[in-house]
């Protein structure tokens, strides 16, 4: 049975403190509990969480839903948003954690990446170094979410064509984003249209999908 690796890269810089980080934590809970009610996800989905602020940490190594325990997330008072470094760590973890198919053994499905930020990369040089590397990792889908007025779409568009812009980063909007992520992860099990390849479900009303 192939695994479906899902990487969540979450901005935990100072600006996320307070309501936003609580909304993210809440969103993660909802995401996990929704996936735990989905037989398809329970069979294949594995989740990893990487957070980035001035430090970059893989808080949760790739784990199945059965054993997964959500980590504690505490953003620092202030400091830079090292998104570039987070993407570099992601690439390293992908190399380490993803089982590639061989002639003898079936590997994982193409991994999915969801990145969420309320700002922009502070380490732009590293970000620009990381983007081409990410693109070689054969992701099934890369979705970047820019949450709130200060979030900048343009950098994210260098990373992926699928940028979701949330006008506000309040709890209900972030929650709708996480619900949408859980629906997107489940897409593989839905009916496949006669016309197209993998399609993401429609985003929630508050979200603008920039393609």
């Amino acid at each position: 049975m192939r695994r479906l690796p899902v990487y969540l890269l979450l901005d935990t810089s100072g600006s996320m403190r307070g309501e936003r980080i609580e909304a993210v934590k809440n969103g993660l809970q909802v995401l996990v509990s929704k996936l735990r009610q989905d037989p398809f996800a329970l069979e294949s989905v594995h989740i990893s969480i990487i957070t980035f602020d001035r430090e970059v940490k893989q808080l949760l190594p790739l784990t199945d839903l059965e054993h997964l325990q959500l980590p504690e997330i505490i953003p620092p008072e202030s400091g830079p948003t090292n998104m570039g470094e987070a993407l570099l760590m992601l690439c390293d973890q992908i190399d380490r954690e993803i089982i590639r198919s061989t002639e003898e053994e079936k590997g994982d499905w193409r991994p999915l990446l969801f990145l969420m930020t309320d700002g922009k990369p502070s380490d732009l040089a590293k970000f620009r170094e990381a983007v081409p590397r990410v693109k070689t990792k054969n992701f099934g889908a890369v979705v970047a979410c820019a949450a709130g007025a200060e979030a900048v779409d343009s950098f994210l568009k260098e990373l992926t064509d699928t940028v979701v812009h949330l006008d506000t980063a309040d709890s209900s909007t972030l929650m709708s984003f996480f619900k949408w992520v859980s629906a997107s992860i489940g897409t593989g099990n839905k009916s496949v249209g006669t016309a197209e390849e993998m399609v993401l479900p429609p985003p929630p009303a508050e979200v603008h999908l920039i393609i």
Partner: protein, 505 residues
């Protein structure tokens, strides 16, 4: 803020639904409940063109009437969740569908300790829960509670219901086009099933499909031509023939809890391409008798998928001779040759005949509780390995040929204690399906093991006769089942003769 909205159908009927801002989302529709939850209104997110609307109109009217407005039409209300009206609201097209019946929602869901982690109580019993080995494995934390799982006999009943429903659609010239465990709800605790999401159905030559199916159930010819344009003459789209593939896959999965084509063979090191080949042009039955290259590799299988993933331990032949034959036709002969696939009718009759071969396992702890008699002198439960102890009567069925001689039918009835005999055993012109009258669903006799003897008790048969002894068996009396005993069940046309065989252990 939730508000109740009233909509009117074209014919002026009004319906209400509650909009709380977060409808349930299906693959293509947003679903809203009626205030009393007796129906739902499901709106398509995409704008429906003229053709789609015409199709929907036909589904809620003509096709529906073709199935429901006939003698015995009520029978189908339990087997189909069929939309019965169409509405428009804010430029969106919606269909009105009956709410799923109560037994299609989880009562308990996960096992008690799994329920501490998460809960699916109240969620729909989507078929996938019951088609995967993991959710019945005690080593998987979130396995289903025993009360939800049912026993193996119930899965045969579930498969009969699904086959019957598909047979009915096909005989009305309709193809479901997206049969999968997502679109079939099942209740293994009672052996019931219902087909849902009927709005996509396909009418050959009239309404083309807009989905190619759901992964796991897409027919190989559809998978291998999906890169071609929709109007390309070589493109294969869902049809009655592809429904037959999906039905075969579903039956295999509900009886064996594994996929018939997902084995160890690698077609490409890219997972997407591997999937397309493995489910498409290179599809190969995991239990192909001579080509062993797609056998599951047990060292690569998750422990929670055992023992079901082990095709040597639990081969498909445990489903008995009739189903083995159909699985061969579906996954060997007919895999790439749609016209060779068994029909839904074939599945329904083979499943019904197989039910007559089932024996309760004598091990009260056995999870499956039932097995199919394998026509051996030493019957053993293939699941728990418990051998059958004692005398086992096997009834071979014969029918009266036009020349007055009795010919052997390819059908047997295995006897167990407190088993009932039904009119369709007695008379070969009666089939156990939706056409049975109220009288015909009542048992006519039963079998008991009493005082060290196997006996058939006559309840309502008017012409039961012990041919060996040349003796009538009146209602309320018994006939003992002994080796070689000939019993005529009925003197009416189509009445069967049984010859008893006793397997002793």
């Amino acid at each position: 803020m939730s508000k109740t909205i009233t909509v009117k159908s074209q014919e002026g009927k009004s319906y209400q639904f509650v909009d709380d801002g977060s409808p349930m989302q299906g693959g293509m529709k947003d679903v809203y409940f009626a205030p009393d939850r007796s129906y739902v209104v499901a709106f398509f997110r995409d704008k429906q063109d003229f053709n789609s609307k015409e199709r929907l109109t036909n589904i809620v009217k003509n096709y529906r009437e073709r199935i429901f407005n006939q003698a015995g039409g009520d029978y189908w209300k339990d087997l189909f969740c069929w939309p019965y009206d169409m509405v428009e609201y804010n430029g969106r097209t919606g269909i009105v569908v009956p709410t799923y019946q109560k037994h299609f929602f989880f009562q308990t869901g996960y096992n008690p300790s799994g329920n501490q982690i998460s809960s699916i109580r109240g969620k729909e019993k989507e078929g996938k829960w019951f088609a995967s080995a993991q959710f019945r494995s005690k080593s998987f934390k979130l396995h289903l509670d025993k009360s939800e799982l049912g026993d193996w006999f119930k899965y045969f009943l579930v498969c009969i219901k699904i086959s019957r429903a598909v047979r009915r659609m096909h005989s009305a010239g309709l193809a479901h086009s997206d049969l999968s465990y997502k679109n079939v709800l099942i209740d293994p605790s009672s052996g019931r099933a219902a087909i849902i999401d009927i709005d996509g159905l396909v009418v050959p030559g009239k309404f083309a499909p807009d989905v190619i199916g759901t992964p796991d159930f897409i027919a190989p010819e559809v998978m291998s031509t999906k890169h071609l344009g929709k109007t390309d003459p070589n493109r294969k789209l869902p049809s009655i023939a592809t429904d037959r593939h999906a039905l075969a896959v579903m039956i295999y999965m509900y009886l064996l809890y594994r996929h018939p084509l997902r084995g160890g063979k690698i077609h490409d090191t890219d997972p997407q391409k591997d999937e397309e080949l493995g489910m498409g042009s290179k599809a190969l039955f995991v239990e192909h008798p001579t080509d062993l290259s797609n056998r599951p590799k047990l060292n690569q299988v998750k422990p929670t998928h055992l023992p079901w993933a082990d095709v040597n331990k639990i081969p498909y032949t445990i489903c008995g001779p009739y189903l083995t034959d159909l699985f061969n036709k579906a996954f060997i002969d007919g895999l790439q040759n749609p016209s060779a696939r068994p029909t839904a009718d074939d599945w329904e009759s083979a499943l019904i005949k197989t039910v007559d071969l089932m024996q309760p396992c004598q091990n009260t702890m056995c999870d499956q509780k039932w097995f199919v008699f394998a026509n051996t002198t030493k019957p053993v439960c293939p699941f728990c390995g418990t051998p059958y102890r004692g005398q086992l009567p096997v009834l071979n069925l014969y029918y009266k040929k036009p020349d007055g001689q009795f010919g052997l039918e390819n059908q047997r009835l295995m006897v167990y204690n407190n088993q009932y005999l039904y009119p369709w055993h007695v008379n070969r012109s009666i089939f156990p399906n939706e056409k049975l009258t109220a009288e015909q669903v009542k048992p006519v006799g039963y079998f008991v093991f009493h005082g060290g003897k196997w006996q058939l008790i006559n309840q309502t048969l008017t012409s039961l006769k012990d041919v060996s002894e040349d003796k009538e068996i009146p209602i309320g009396s018994a006939v003992e089942l002994t080796e070689g005993k000939k019993i005529l069940l009925s003197t009416e046309a189509g009445g069967r003769l049984i010859i008893v065989q006793l397997v002793a252990n």
